[in-house]
Symmetry: C2
Subunit: 656 residues, 2 copies
Amino acid sequence: MPSAPSPSYAPTVVIEDLYPCLEGGRYPVKRIVGEPLEVWADVFKDGHDILRAVLKWRQEGQQRWAEAAMSLGDNDRWHGRCSFEAPGTWEYVVEAWPDGFRSWKKTFAVRVEALDPDVPVEALEGARLLEQAAIRARAAGVMDGASQLTDCAELLRTLPADQLMDVLLSEELQAVMDKFPDREFATTSRALPVRVERERARFSSWYEFFPRNAEGRADRHSTFRDCLERLDDARAMGFDVIYFPPIHPIGITHRKGKNNTLTAGPDDVGSPWAIGGPAGGHRAIEPALGTETDFVWLLAEARKRGLEIALDFAINCSPDHPYVKDHPDWFYQRPDGSIRYAENPPKKYQDIYPLNFHCADWKNLWRELIDVVRYWVDLGVTIFRVDNPHTKPVAFWEELIRSIQRTNPEVLFLSEAFTKPKMMQVLAKAGFTQSYTYFTWRESKHELMAYVNELTRSEMRWYFRGNFWPNTPDILPGHLQHAAAPMFRLRAALAALLTPCWGMYSGYELCENDPYPGKEEYNHSEKYELLQRDWNAPGNIKAFITQLNRIRHENPALQLYDNVVFHAADHDQVMSFSRATPDGGNRLLVVMSLNATAGVESGVHLDLAALGLAEGQKFEVRDLLYGGVYQWQGADNYVVLRPDGVAMHVFSVKPL
Amino acid sequence: MPSAPSPSYAPTVVIEDLYPCLEGGRYPVKRIVGEPLEVWADVFKDGHDILRAVLKWRQEGQQRWAEAAMSLGDNDRWHGRCSFEAPGTWEYVVEAWPDGFRSWKKTFAVRVEALDPDVPVEALEGARLLEQAAIRARAAGVMDGASQLTDCAELLRTLPADQLMDVLLSEELQAVMDKFPDREFATTSRALPVRVERERARFSSWYEFFPRNAEGRADRHSTFRDCLERLDDARAMGFDVIYFPPIHPIGITHRKGKNNTLTAGPDDVGSPWAIGGPAGGHRAIEPALGTETDFVWLLAEARKRGLEIALDFAINCSPDHPYVKDHPDWFYQRPDGSIRYAENPPKKYQDIYPLNFHCADWKNLWRELIDVVRYWVDLGVTIFRVDNPHTKPVAFWEELIRSIQRTNPEVLFLSEAFTKPKMMQVLAKAGFTQSYTYFTWRESKHELMAYVNELTRSEMRWYFRGNFWPNTPDILPGHLQHAAAPMFRLRAALAALLTPCWGMYSGYELCENDPYPGKEEYNHSEKYELLQRDWNAPGNIKAFITQLNRIRHENPALQLYDNVVFHAADHDQVMSFSRATPDGGNRLLVVMSLNATAGVESGVHLDLAALGLAEGQKFEVRDLLYGGVYQWQGADNYVVLRPDGVAMHVFSVKPL
């Protein structure tokens, strides 16, 4: 039964509505190392005391608090700000107390003004406050401060009433008093948690490829040793996270054939997501890819290039997974004693057995899965893309991520939950660093604006970092099917410029656009077969993608999450938005056509204030894609955009 | 450090955003006995299970939960509703679980439809679920249910596939299964508190008078025994709470004279708020009023009349209060050793010493003050009006009210905090039943509408019950100064019709309107002297007040707090609002002029939907003040209102 605190202590100050706060403090808000956290709280007290409030924060396990003064705004609301110097779990509180000296001084000034006969005795009260502060200063070893305070106290005792205020109005005196406040009657709010992650949690550019197809040869299974060229190519395009589908042994029983057919031929490579075979389970490596030594070598090569390799954590077991033999009780049994395979009737996935997270031995199951992740972390893996987390208990993910990040706060997790909004949100609250989004299906200007605003202006901005992908191995959205390069450029630009986290699945740069008939999937999906590819095939858009990533790296405004401001454009298919750093040092303005097949023209009407520009102020815009420099003035401009020519402008904006 | 739950159990269902919830569950929401509480929560789970959710509630100290099914709305939000049968502290939770049978049945239907070869083995799974439910039914002693389930299980095992769904689609079968659900994998939300109070917490009409002036004689101090006539008069006017200023011995030292002057004459009665004299302190009765026996007699007389007497709990000590001698350490000492009197420089209140709630002996001080309240509760007092609670620690009030209501949940507290919004709000959250409001200073239509909407449509409606007073002994607002009866009628009607709690300080019915020059106070305030009064003086508005209270008592819609809907009126000084019971059984429509000196005419445009009326529907309006009955149709009407004639309409509305 929740109840009010019993009076084992007597709180003096009311501290309420501490913010940011998720689900009453149940979940941490997220920050990046060095990124400011703006905190507010309602802070007030009975009576007429002047208050002081500080924001305090510390890392989990630390005793000492860092501290910063808060300032009073309207209606008893106080504001403060802090930042965090290392990844990990932090907490913050607000502490507030009545400022005895300031309160006394204010009242005393009124007394002096009113020629109150009590001025002498009240001056003694002030002297007492100064002397108590002097004791605190002395205890802190600040001897000159202590004697300054003692001297003032003596003046208060001796000076005539009409000279007292001259002493008291000294800002220097107040500054010394502020250093040694009487916090005996301080009240501290409850603590709220913050999860702090490294920069790449917020700013990352992902490139996904199948290592077994690294060479682009249909006739040869590539190995980890064959992956360097792909790494270099991705790096040249400006990507920094290389994401591999599962690298574990692939099941043989019920292995899927080409195009997800039920019967695999002897040479079919199978889906990497059907994990577990004779060579082992989630701790093993598919022999055709190489050895653990090869993988560790590749991790190191990636690191040399400034790249990280993200592994796929997919909790699927093929019928050949060691768990099936060793822990049949971890799976669901059917009434005939067989193990239940995955299905979403009438669809059946006979090559995969789902685990029963609520089996009697669930504790050991959960521990084992967490240990699997730790195994790869210990080998040097620092990012995981998690497959379908919404089909496993949220509590499991919360435990897993907390457990891993407790020892390895550098490890990041991307949630692949294409599902209902509340589930996507709670997975992010429970700890996922980044999340796939609905971006892939947001096409119109209205849809895109509404969605970006929801992600970056609602409470979601405190915990949900959307990672925008134009395609994945599972998804070739309708607008890309049979589409030409302009559409691929358009969707890449949207993803890369609207959010600091974006990713693409390889083949996108080659404008691969062939759907499986009637589905939102690729024909001859790489999930089930080796593909023949020329990674530099004519018509590729690698140069454009390289430009996008270069602009992202060169412009800090594009590395922040919640700074998108949309501007008005008359044409339905012209979208304009800007993003700036808080100090205004970097300001980007994007104007782009959403029509990938026909030219459009439109008036664009800038929100000058959002760009930090005064009405009528001249400003320079520099086209970062096409190189022109123009001088503009006023909110209204006109653009002509063509799919095969200049389809978008990415301007850097400089006030003149 | 807040942290995620460690996995000592494996929660299955996510339950979030449980509402109503104040400050993360720190404070209870408030309800009246029998009044429904609408609860919602986001409830969802990984995977595709069909869920069930129930709302559970129980009183503090009880083991057993009451329970009601919740229903699923949009976007994973579930709704439920409960009510509470007794005053006290209650709590509610949401419990949810995967409904194994429903989930199985849904999937099974797809299988049957798809002629899935697995139908027979999956039918066995269904049989297993039915048999497990049969075991639960048997354990609950429901033998016919158990055999019905066993029979069904047998059918599932034996019937051919194409006949199975006929068995399963039986609503009777589902109803039996719903009675014995498998809740092994249920998850329960955290508990949120509810403070439940009796009806009068929400619906009350207060009449304040000074018992010492009950007879209205300047030459004679009345006693409790002289109060019956005043009680009867108040009752006749329809009031149900009689509020007395403090009845304790009044201090002599620095007693205030007439009109708050610093020097009292020998016959001056002093302010009842300067408590404590030779006859005692907060547990004693001013001898001039009578004895404790007299007071208990008066309480009983009031009770016979259906009235309650509310005492004033004012934590002010005169210099003659016993605490000053017995507990000088409970007060503030000045540097010269004297006890600090109350002041708000340059104003001084030498007749009052404030207590130091944070003195070293604070625990005993707090306990003593709580014991004082308990003393009067034990004598039979059930309502307290608390003087200036915002000048004492909020934590103290929370402790006091919780402590009293734990044993005496019938006791109500009215907060007299005319102060900043956040403080007024937190006092209500901390436990005050009702609160004085800014109503007294809200004059224009816009101000009144905005304020009522803030009180009854914001989060405040969950905890803050505004009690509207047109005057108090401290406040004769500008608009009443030198005003005539129409203004007194207007302000009384606003208070009585906009909120179920209103009150007036005696003399209002006589239109007393003489201000102390330049102040918002009464001249010759009754706080400092005995007044000569004719309680039936010509020009009084007692008949009108009686009508207002009669209408309030006869119309349940006026006894609810958060049902005010404003309607449009063209004229700036014409205000229209309606109030209805949730079932539409009682609907009131008010149209009133805010101009107390000149006639106004205005179009009024009703929100028909808010009145439960269809477009074009005819309806009857019955004037509850003036008695006419009219048939109306449509949203638009025209009113002519005159201060000395029909200044307002209070219609009961009946659809035809």
